[in-house]
């Protein structure tokens, strides 16, 4: 924190002031945590009978089943959305104008729609008895469109000379794409692709609303059917599972990004353009 846009390295007076503010802030944060703890304790949330159900193996098994269902929806949606994204990106980069138009309309439409509205329409209209597929297809359409934009931005961010040189040595269109552009673009795109997969993972929880028995839905059922309705203990168990899964994926994205930046073999295309697409998808 020595050189910063906002302030110089602090002098003696500023250091004292920062320490005082720091101590006050630490106290305020501790007071806040204590307040939350007291509230939970006063309303009896730490009473042992509320936590008892979670010691039964069949309840634990149901939580694991819910987690597996979440991961299943995520895995299917992740694979399908990457495939759809690649297809749509190829369409948007096509030399044939009509293909480009169709791909653009599809991408723009599905990116602009709230995911829940699509999933619900699919659930009621097509997959009445298979909420998994309503969820997976909804997630695929939305995230596939966003991935398509990430792919396109990545390919376009490869320096123009690369493409021109490849054409100059006589490669065909597909060869230029497969051997020259995609390998270079992948390195720049990978962090954004994984960040979008985190969004996909988070959005599987929308299955709760269309009664797909994923982690949150299962937790809700357990809490509803146990003595004393232990919603808060349930959330204290379920929330960390979600957060840790997402954090692990985000950490992977950050690691790859740092690794890509460290590598000195040729300048990777700049990630700035891809970042803009990513921000739009949050």
């Amino acid at each position: 924190m020595s050189a910063n846009v906002l302030f110089d390295a602090p002098g003696p007076r500023a250091r004292v002031r920062n320490r005082v503010v720091g101590a006050l802030a630490a106290l305020a944060i501790l007071a806040l945590l204590w307040f939350v703890y007291r509230r939970l304790d006063d309303s009896g949330q730490f009473a042992s009978y509320l936590w008892e159900p979670f010691q039964y193996t069949d309840i634990q098994q149901r939580i694991v089943d819910g987690l597996v269902a979440t991961l299943k929806a995520f895995a299917l949606a992740a694979v399908f959305s990457l495939v759809l994204g690649a297809a749509l990106a190829a369409g948007r980069l096509s030399d044939h104008a009509p293909v480009r138009w169709v791909a653009t309309v599809v991408v723009e439409f599905f990116r602009a729609m709230p995911l829940l509205i699509m999933i619900f329409a699919l659930y009621v209209g097509v997959f009445t008895s298979a909420p998994l597929w309503a969820l997976v297809i909804g997630l695929t359409l939305y995230n596939g469109s966003v991935q398509a934009e990430i792919f396109r931005a990545g390919i376009n961010a490869v320096p123009k000379g690369q493409r021109e040189a490849a054409y100059a040595i006589g490669l065909r269109k597909t060869q230029v794409m497969v051997f020259v552009l995609i390998p270079q673009a992948t390195r720049a795109m990978l962090p954004s692709i994984i960040s979008q997969l985190v969004v996909t993972l988070k959005d599987t929880s929308l299955g709760y609303i269309i009664t797909y028995e994923e982690l949150l839905y299962t937790g809700n059922l357990i809490a509803k059917n146990s003595a004393g309705f232990p919603f808060i203990p349930m959330i204290i168990i379920v929330a960390p599972i979600y957060i840790l899964m997402c954090l692990a994926l985000s950490a992977l994205a950050n690691w790859i990004e740092r690794r890509g930046r460290r590598s000195r073999k040729g300048a990777p295309p700049k990630a700035g353009d891809i970042k803009a697409v990513e921000a739009a998808a949050e």
Binding site: M1, A3, N4, V5, L6, F7, D8, P10, A14, N18, V21, G22, A25, A26, I29, V36, R39, L40, S43, Q45, A112, M113, P114, L115, L116, I117, M118, F120, A121, V124, G125, V198, K202, D203, T204, S205, L206, Y208, I209, L216, N220, F231, I232, I235, V238, A239, Y242, I243, C246, L247, S250, A276, A279, A280, A281, E282
Partner: protein, 215 residues
């Protein structure tokens, strides 16, 4: 067409619900996000830690879970007089504030160090540096991502419909149960969302051209 005309009052109510939800949560999220960004760049370690934890937790929590917490947990912790609408605004604005915080922080970091150093060597105070030099430049880079975050907020507000708040998703649910063709409803709800999101992007494009400087 009939779906829309027969249920115009319902659609209008849902549309207004979504607008209200988006506008309120957007305003709160902007304020909260800027405060959190200030925490994250402050020279005080506990505040920095608080900002970091806030952003990390909220960015990695599914919004549905957050709504679940707002609707079922907060009432038991003393917010039992709050309506679902207020709780939904709370959940949405906390979630969005984490993303806005990151946008604002990276906006501040794009201002070249030399700008601030020059300002300080001219004898400007902290407030002057911030108000006259850094914020005007940061605003320009921050505007486009904030525009897309508000559009994302509009889309996310649909989840509130799953938790007893009346907005456009609730319209879709209600009419779906009444037996109208779900895809006809879907199209009209989609149009309603498009009106809001296109409006937001138009406003931000206007702001960007207003604030742009010829270089």
């Amino acid at each position: 067409m009939n779906v829309l005309l027969d249920n115009f009052a319902l659609f209008r109510e849902g549309f207004l619900g979504t607008v209200e939800l988006t506008a309120l949560s957007g305003a709160i999220a902007l304020v909260l996000g800027v405060i959190m960004a200030a925490f994250r760049v402050s020279p005080v370690p506990p505040l920095r830690a608080f900002g970091t934890v806030w952003v990390t937790l909220l960015r990695n929590t599914p919004l549905t879970l957050l709504f679940f917490i707002a609707a079922l947990v907060l009432p038991r912790l003393g917010l039992n007089t709050w309506s679902f609408f207020r709780l939904a605004v709370l959940a949405l604005s906390c979630y969005t504030s984490a993303f806005i915080c990151e946008a604002v922080r990276s906006g501040i970091n794009t201002v070249p160090l030399g700008q601030a150093e020059a300002a300080r060597s001219l004898g400007m105070t902290f407030t002057q540096t911030l108000r006259l030099i850094i914020l005007p430049q940061a605003t320009r880079t921050v505007l486009p991502p904030i525009g897309s975050l508000l559009i994302a907020l509009t889309k996310n507000s649909a989840i509130a419909g799953g938790f007893s708040v009346f907005e456009l998703f609730s319209v879709q649910k209600t009419l779906g149960e009444e037996g109208y063709n779900i895809f006809a409803i879907f199209i009209w709800v989609a149009v309603a969302y498009l009106i809001i999101t296109l409006f937001i992007s138009a406003v931000f494009r206007l702001l960007e051209t207003r604030l742009a400087v010829a270089r």
